[in-house]
Amino acid sequence: MRNLLLAGVAAAALSTSAMLAPAFAQDIKQGGSMTVTYKDDVSTLDPAIGYDWQNWSMIKSLFDGLMDYVPGTTELRPEIAESYEISDDGTVFTFKLRDGVKFHNGRDLTAEDVKYSIERTVNPKTQSPGAGFFGSIKGFEEASSGDADGLSGITVVDDHTIKFELSRPDATFLHVLALNFAHVVPKEEVEKHGADFGKHPVGSGAFRLAEWTLGQRLVFERFEDYWNPGVPKLDQIIFEVGQEPVVALLRLQNGEVDVPGDGIPPAKFIEVKNDPKFKDLIIQGGQLHTGYVTMNVKMEPFDKPEVRKAVNMAINKDRILRIINGRAVAANQPLPPSMPGYAKDYEGYAYDPEAAKALLAEAGLADGFETELYVMNTDPQPRIAQAIQQDLKAIGINASIKSLAQANVIAAGGEEDQAPMIWSGGMAWIADFPDPSNFYGPILGCDGAVPGGWNWAWYCNEDLDAMAKDADAMVDPEKAGEREAMWRDIYLKVMEDAPWAPIFNEERFTIRSERIGGDDKLFVDPVHIPVHYDEVFAKDVQ
């Protein structure tokens, strides 16, 4: 298989599925400003380090990587790469870079910079939370342990060509290159600012950082020399931090704010949604998120599959959806509906307390048992846990609720014998990239079932692990459908063992001012949260 994908061809092919009709996109005039508010400080804008939903899309606007997604979708497309080629065995990826890509400091971006940036992420001194994503590149072990300076699998062929050699075929590798952790940084600026690079970010993205007043505001300005003409649409984005979400809504009403970045506070949701002033400003979309209850298969009595299935049948998900004011859809499997591989026709374990009781009796627990349900202590999580507690009580399971700070629940989940049940709300799991494999390894695979891991059910099925490995070795795009089917199968097999009780998939509700325009998809972009900063435009300059 040789797969030569020219960006021009790709763009033409994708434009049919892209959310903006091309004629319309060209008509949009650049200019104008947008004000976004956040409650919390922006932590860092270093692409190798930033890993929260708030800085994720900000970094995407300041930096570029080899790969990206078509705005508003989960479809991959080359970004600063012009084309790429994958070897037949799926272990060599060669990228051609575009001409004329410049850093904000004026220097041309070259293949050497791409190599430097990824090696910097993997280098243990950087302390990047994303280093592990590059595990399939040759030389990763040596580089990540600090024994080698660079990755032997990355070769700069010339200024505009870079080659990646992998130690195993990796179907997710293009997604990995679209992560912020693979975005390109200029070496001279990183060395100049050292550990403070995250406060003085210089990239090649559509915006450049013009001002950062700690604790108050950041200003992004349009990068005039951006390689992609017509992008970004806005001249300026002002981020105001330290703003309570309730206050941000009031200011939106006053016309002082365009996008309250933290969204609509849960307690105000119904009021805002029914308010005629706000109703038309809210855009709803899916999220690559699943909320679930983990059952620790290494702790009694959850080592019995009947008990785990009984819990699945005991929980009334519709009632939980009412508790969160319908901000989600009920889930019956690990994958969210917008993820490739989701099994549409799967029915899951329907709500049936009587059948659940029968299953418990079958497991020899007709009289029920005592257990603990761990939950993060911010609203609405404890209320959801209470609903689950009541449902479990109805079939004889007495679960006491352990409501703790997020870090403490995560710590308990990472211990083999601490938390029999955890409600994942507020902590897990939102996908890093839109590929089904991202819902398996760390949270359901054997690799995650280690001390300090995220597989809180401590579920480890070696057969499924082998299947997952096979699926991820299917790099050939022709076989994408087959791979998807394999993953679908894996998750359905997981549900047969029922280490989780999937509860719901959160929906996103973005609210924006009348002034800011763009296709609805841009405001619920699966990768850019809360909105796609590069693509939305100001109506008052049109």
Partner: protein
Amino acid sequence: MLAYVARRLIQTALILLGISFVTFVLLYLVPADPARQIAGRSATAATVENIREQLGLNLPFYEQYLRYLGGLLNGDLGRSYLQKTEVSELIASRLPASLLLMVGAIFCELVLGLTMGVVAALKRGSRTDDTLMIASFVGVSAPQFVIGILLLYVFAVKLGWFPIGGYGTFAHLILPSITLGFLGAGWYSRMMRSSLIDVLRQDYIRTARATGLTRARVLFGHALPNAILPIIAMIGIDIGLFMSGIVVVESVFGWPGIGQLAWQAIQRVDIPIIMGVTLVSACAIVLGNLLADLITPLIDPRIKLR
């Protein structure tokens, strides 16, 4: 006097050392693992271990504490785990806003508290007195976030007289200052009232009136300067009260001070910031108390420092 100041400064240093130790122990015992937090959910065990080593979190407790103290002596408060910035830089960038808010709050509590106290004392036993004392009672007991949100809702949202939170202009300063100063105003009005009632009973006041001075001249020339003394001495101690108050008030009003910084850090268990803000606040409280003690003899020569 100098010997006294020197002794107090040494005491201050010891108190700060004690506070740093207690805070460090408490944060050490928090069951959240900073290395895992930095490493993120996709990290391997080896990465987490590596970060733990780089931060010195694998060292025994006393060694970690000594390293922190060593940094402190060099003015190094460490780097934030999550913001990846020098804690001293974060605090320095936010301190001016907090100090400004405190100045505003001291002004508000003095103006509100003293006025209420004087009026109540002069109208002692009347309905005005009762009303003012109930108001002061509310000021002392109502939680600051309630007062803050109430003021914000009435004066900023409904009436539109002030901006809805934020920082920058004089108008932004008013509501947070009142909120923060209201508690102190409650205390001061009660102290002022009893102090002034006490002074007005004194013989020299009667004598002053007898010499034919007007009521106003007696009040402002003789009674107030004497009645106000115990209150001035309290302002230094207020700084300690404010330190706990700014965490709430700054969060409600989106005021970019160190209280907001602390609140964010606590939610995300960013230990170096929590340590740093605690130490800076402790410093402010201890120095505020010292200041109060030093001012007292200046305004009341009967008090001597030993």
